[in-house]
């Protein structure tokens, strides 16, 4: 039996167990334990190419994304400990799944999170396009109830938009899948694995592949949060609880991106990249532009982070569009951005806990109330904006390098201009939250909780350390993983 199947089975069983479990304690311990096992399994996996008949398999590309997923999963599980405790404190009554016809968030939190992780794992390790598609759909379904935490108008609206827009996207992606099938009609085999498609690329009908890519890009682009299909993203991220937004922003968009990369691989095999390049670059630019438009005016910190996610997704797609050295940059950027954004959402959660608000104008003089979190926030924001030393600096530097080498001056100039605007708005937001003195009116309204639990900021702290180190020196084994992934996408090193 293939080792990677454990990655799928592990969370699912854990989810079932926690659904059946009778005690609250179990929810608390199940996530870290599962994460631990998950990581240990990944450490034993060696990326191989997948045989044609298999449903699952791990090649160098999916291995990289598994690493990302594992990191994010670990982070979320650590953070969730306090969160679950908090949930139980809020409603300590019996462990029924439903109260008056509606599920109980406390009850479903751990199982659903595990199921989301399971479905994301499925996306990454499945070697067939249909299967990937199914898992993406599943991840949407499982994550929706997790978003629906504060049971009020806004959250319902967010969930509704998330589900609806994503389902439209998923349906479009399905059209892409059909187009692939049509393209592959000359192939003897009907159930197609990626490798099989890539190896027999010469037999594929090129036009259909292009159409398939367009549909897939737009369909999964919705899930990924690529402008102009991003519209659900700020709502969902801002209304979900911190660990969930962290999970979504860290892992889910990466998974969608992974699927797009699969289609990109096929497109590259039939070398029809030229058209895709323009599409990717223009979508990416648009995403960064959207972030620039809103980062100046948005006053809700979590929405700000959501927009920055859109921006970084845009950077990813630009990098893919540019190709060459930029592919390496994209691989690095995917890892770094997932970690940074995941940590930042956790920090935002801590701020929410302390100030019971994420409104930038209502959070004041954090440096004196929650010093550790504010330092983390500041440093992580600098990292996110691509200030060195950080992996993100390296990746953006490399992307700029590619732009200079292919002399895309227009792209380059707009790119740096927008990034500067974004940097301005983020730094001013951060300094406002952390340094501006507390005014009496707010102090009367809210009671600020100044206690900082280690479990809340340990994972951001670790990730911050990793990010800074990546900016100075990338360890050999990780460099190896990156380079294999780049080879799989045909980038230059």
């Amino acid at each position: 039996m293939q080792l990677e199947l454990y990655l799928l089975i592990l969370p699912v069983t854990a989810a079932i167990l926690s659904l059946m479990a009778r005690s609250d304690k179990f929810d608390i311990i199940v996530l870290p334990i599962t994460a631990l096992l998950y990581i240990s399994v990944i450490c034993n996996i060696s990326p191989t190419t997948v045989s044609n008949d298999g449903y699952f398999g791990i090649d160098s590309l999916s291995y990289l994304f598994l690493v990302i997923l594992a990191l994010i999963f670990a982070g979320s599980s650590i953070y969730s400990i306090n969160f679950i405790k908090h949930l139980h404190k809020k409603n300590p009554d019996s462990r029924h799944l439903f109260i008056n016809g509606m599920f109980k968030y406390t009850r479903i939190y751990a199982p659903l999170m595990l199921l989301v992780v399971a479905s994301m794992t499925g996306v990454i390790i499945s070697s067939r396009l249909t299967l990937m598609w199914v898992f993406i759909e599943a991840s949407t379904l499982f994550s929706a109830p997790l978003i629906y935490y504060h049971k009020d108008e806004e959250t319902l609206e967010a969930v509704w938009k998330y589900l609806f827009i994503c389902s439209v996207g998923v349906a479009l992606a399905f059209v892409g899948r059909i187009a692939i099938a049509q393209a592959a009609k000359n192939l003897p085999e009907t159930n197609l694995t990626i490798d099989y498609l890539i190896t027999n690329a010469s037999l594929l009908g090129k036009p259909w592949i292009v159409i398939a890519f367009v549909f897939a890009l737009i369909g999964f682009g919705v899930k990924m949060g690529l402008a102009p299909m991003h519209t659900w993203l700020p709502d969902a991220y801002s209304s979900a609880p911190a660990p969930i937004s962290a999970l979504l922003s860290g892992a889910l968009s990466a998974c969608a991106f992974f699927v797009i990369l699969r289609y990109y691989q096929i497109l590259r095999a039939v070398d029809m990249l030229i058209f895709a390049r323009y599409l990717l670059i223009s979508f990416g630019m648009l995403s960064i532009f959207v972030c620039a438009v809103y980062s100046v005016r948005v006053k809700n910190f979590k929405r700000l982070l959501a927009y920055s996610s859109i921006e970084h997704i845009g950077i990813l797609s630009i990098g893919i569009g540019l190709g060459g050295y930029a592919i390496y940059a994209v691989m690095l950027h995917a890892v770094c951005h997932s970690m940074a954004k995941h940590s930042l959402f956790h920090i935002a959660g801590n701020f929410l806990k302390a100030y019971s608000s994420v409104d930038i104008d209502r959070i004041k003089s954090a440096s004196s109330h929650i010093p550790i979190n504010s330092i983390l926030l500041f440093v992580l924001i600098f990292i996110l904006l691509g200030f060195p030393p950080s992996g993100i600096f390296i990746s953006e530097f490399t992307i700029l390098k590619e732009m200079v080498q292919t002399s895309n001056w227009a792209v380059l100039i707009i790119f740096v201009l927008l990034l500067t605007i974004i940097a301005y708005s983020f730094i001013s937001a951060a300094i406002k939250m952390i340094y501006s003195p507390m005014d009496a009116q707010i102090q009367n309204e809210v009671k600020i909780k100044t206690n900082e639990s280690v479990l809340d900021y340990i994972s951001p702290m670790i990730f911050m350390g990793i990010l800074i180190l990546l900016g100075l020196h990338i360890p050999a084994w990780f460099e190896n993983v990156l380079q294999n992934a780049v080879k799989a996408l045909g980038g230059s090193l």
Partner: protein, 664 residues
């Protein structure tokens, strides 16, 4: 070479320890001493090799393999770097000593002194590394670390809004600068094929137009740090906002890293195209004029000093421009004088500008205000500081026998040498720049007579009782005394420092001609004569008045009976004859309430000056951008159907394009 790294390690450890002590060990007030101790231990490791390089003129190099992404990284300590390492170390040591006294009042007000000192050490370490590193990516990394750490230092007094805005403004300017630098470096590495600085030489030696464009990019990128007009806008904001020792380290040392960058790039160009030289010269002339004319108009002491820093950066830039012109026209004497003058002025400026900012800090601690208009008569309260400030003012005005004159004279000799077979353009440039230089000199005199005369002399303009007899702590006095001594020594015996400058000039593969040395000798001669003559006259006066009774009386008010301190000439009125002429440039806005009527019971006059480039250009650009962005806020309108419509349109467009690209 490794010694330097050991020294840096010690310093950074000191910084970390100071955080730990301040935050966790509850050792309030100790953190500064800890860092100072480590600094004193670490400094020799850096100074000894640097001074060795400066004296013997040999070059240390080191190269390590840092793995990805940096790969092979290179360090080099040549004359040019050594000058800067020495400067940075000495100045920051003095400033650190000063800060022990300066930060005392802040300790019990909930400022994070420990973190402050940590960032201080980080700033110093990054600056020193910047100066010795020769690897593009690492250079950029360190460059940004420097910016970020200084950003936190500027935001130290984060309780007031101005400081926060200033720091944001500062970091963004730095970000734009570094982006331009990144592009320049990328173009460079793209041509030279490696991240190693040494390979730049062959790109520049190709001496094409594109390479000179790259140079221009480098220059602009570094100008953001150095503060050349019109990239200076952060400077007058950040310096007043920062605490004085930080302003002094920034203005005295940090902006010089920008100069270092420009000089470092120049060192790789054997024969620059003439237009780059003129480009640098013209920008520097504009900078100098804009800086000093605005400095005169200010009434905020530290803002004034900030503008004067801009002016001095302009002077340094003029030196660089002269040097480049000398190189491009193949006139060694001119080139030598230009670059030597630029380097010398860099050193001098960092000495006396640090001195002046430290003095300003003492004044601020005494009055808790930076407004010159309410000062006066401080020389009676803080005599040592005042005399130090006077020496600083004399030096910055470039008057003999102080160090400012030496460097200015050096640059002059660049203008006034080698008139033989010059093109008319070059001649015009030379003589006009000389005249402009003279004009700046005159303006500087006007500016600093104003500051010193109004702020330190005369009678105190505020309520005298508020002006408690201040006993400035020894921590703060000693550095100022040392610095003023340096000013005088360099001014009186320039030969020493000019000899030291020989090894940096080797980086430009230039060599001294004996002329400079001899001139330096005669200058010191004549300065000594001047000093002795002044002393003789003072003695003579003393002897004349020895056994006569010297009576004191109230100042002759032309018959007016009861003069009050508020009747003294104010700073802005002192500057008026100049600012009236340059009204547009200094952006003076006046409003007079209740004028015009006869027998006015209350008459009110207010005037302030704003940076026209900041308020006129930068802000408008920002408004334009914002307006443009606000046009697109319909994207996130909240209607689900619009979102779906966007997807639909995107899909159709993409599909038609893709299918069309097949059919056609």
């Amino acid at each position: 070479m490794d010694n330097i790294f050991i020294g840096l390690l010690i310093i950074i450890i000191g910084g970390i320890l100071s955080i730990i002590i301040d935050q966790f060990l509850e050792g309030k007030g100790l953190s500064g001493y800890v860092l100072l101790l480590f600094f004193i231990i670490g400094a020799p490791f850096i100074l000894i090799p640097s001074i060795d390089v400066l004296i013997t003129g040999n070059v240390y190099t080191a190269s390590y393999n840092a793995g990805t992404p940096m790969n092979q990284i290179f360090f080099e300590l040549d004359g040019l770097s050594a000058i800067f390492t020495t400067l940075i170390t000495v100045m920051s040591a003095l400033v650190l000593i000063y800060s022990q006294g300066y930060l005392k009042p802040y300790e019990d007000k909930g400022f994070f002194i420990g973190i402050h000192f940590f960032f201080f050490s980080l700033l110093v370490v990054s600056m020193i590394l910047i100066v010795i590193v020769r690897h593009s990516m690492l250079f950029l990394t360190l460059w940004e670390i420097m910016s970020i750490s200084s950003f936190f230092l500027v935001a130290f007094e984060h309780k007031d809004k101005i400081a926060r805005q200033a720091s944001v403004n500062y970091i963004i300017s730095m970000h734009i600068g570094v982006v331009i630098l990144i592009i320049a470096f990328l173009l460079m590495t793209n041509k030279s094929g490696s991240m190693f600085f040494g390979d730049f030489r062959k790109v520049f030696s190709a001496n094409t137009f594109s390479s000179s464009i790259i140079f221009a990019l480098f220059f602009i990128g570094f100008s953001f740090k150095a503060g050349f007009v019109p990239f200076h806008t952060w400077l007058p904001k950040a310096h007043p906002a920062a605490p004085s020792h930080i302003s002094s380290i920034m203005s005295g040392v940090m902006i010089k890293t920008g100069i270092y960058g420009i000089l470092r790039i120049c060192a790789y160009i054997e024969h620059p195209l003439a237009w780059t030289g003129y480009f640098v010269l013209i920008i520097s002339l504009i900078t100098g004029f804009f800086g000093i004319i605005n400095a005169i108009a200010q009434s905020d002491l530290k803002r004034l000093l900030a503008f004067s820093s801009i002016e001095n950066i302009g002077l340094i830039g003029i030196g660089i421009g002269v040097g480049m012109l000398g190189l491009s026209y193949g006139k060694p004497l001119m080139a030598t004088a230009g670059f030597a003058g630029a380097l010398l002025h860099t050193i001098n400026h960092s000495i006396f500008k640090t001195l002046l900012f430290l003095g300003a800090g003492v004044v601020y601690n005494l009055l808790h205000s930076r407004n010159i208009e309410i000062m006066g008569g401080l020389i009676k309260k803080i005599p040592v500081t005042s005399f130090a400030f006077l020496i600083g003012a004399l030096s910055i005005s470039g008057l003999p026998p102080f160090n400012g004159f030496i460097s200015k004279f050096m640059i002059y000799s660049g203008f006034l040498s080698e008139f033989r077979d010059c093109s008319n353009l070059l001649l015009t440039a030379k003589v006009f720049s000389a005249a402009a230089f003279a004009l700046f000199g005159g303006l500087t005199v006007a500016c600093f007579t104003n500051v010193f005369g109004i702020a330190f002399l005369g009678a105190y303009r505020g309520q005298a009782k508020k002006l408690t007899p201040a006993k400035t702590s020894l921590w703060m006095v000693v550095p100022m005394v040392i610095l003023s001594a340096l000013c005088a020594v360099i001014g009186l015996f320039p030969a020493i420092i000019i000899n030291i400058l020989q090894s940096p000039l080797q980086s430009f593969n230039l060599r001294y001609l004996p002329a400079q040395i001899s001139i330096a000798a005669s200058i010191s001669q004549v300065s000594l004569i001047f000093v002795s003559m002044a002393l003789i006259l003072i003695l003579f006066r003393y002897l004349l008045l020895r056994n006569k009774l010297v009576q004191t009386a109230v100042t002759w008010g032309c018959g007016y009976e009861s003069p009050s301190p508020l009747m003294q000439y104010t700073s802005s009125s002192f500057a008026e004859p100049i600012t009236r002429i340059a009204k547009q440039i200094v952006g003076i806005t006046e409003d007079i309430k209740g004028a015009g009527k006869l027998f006015e019971d209350s008459l009110q006059y207010k005037s302030n000056s704003k940076d026209i480039i900041d308020s006129g250009i930068v802000e408008n650009i920002w408004y334009l951008i914002q307006g443009f962005l606000n046009r697109f806020t319909w994207i996130q309108c909240g209607y689900l159907r619009h979102y779906i419509l966007m997807i639909l349109i995107t899909l159709l467009v993409a599909l038609l394009l893709s299918i069309g690209s097949f059919v056609i």
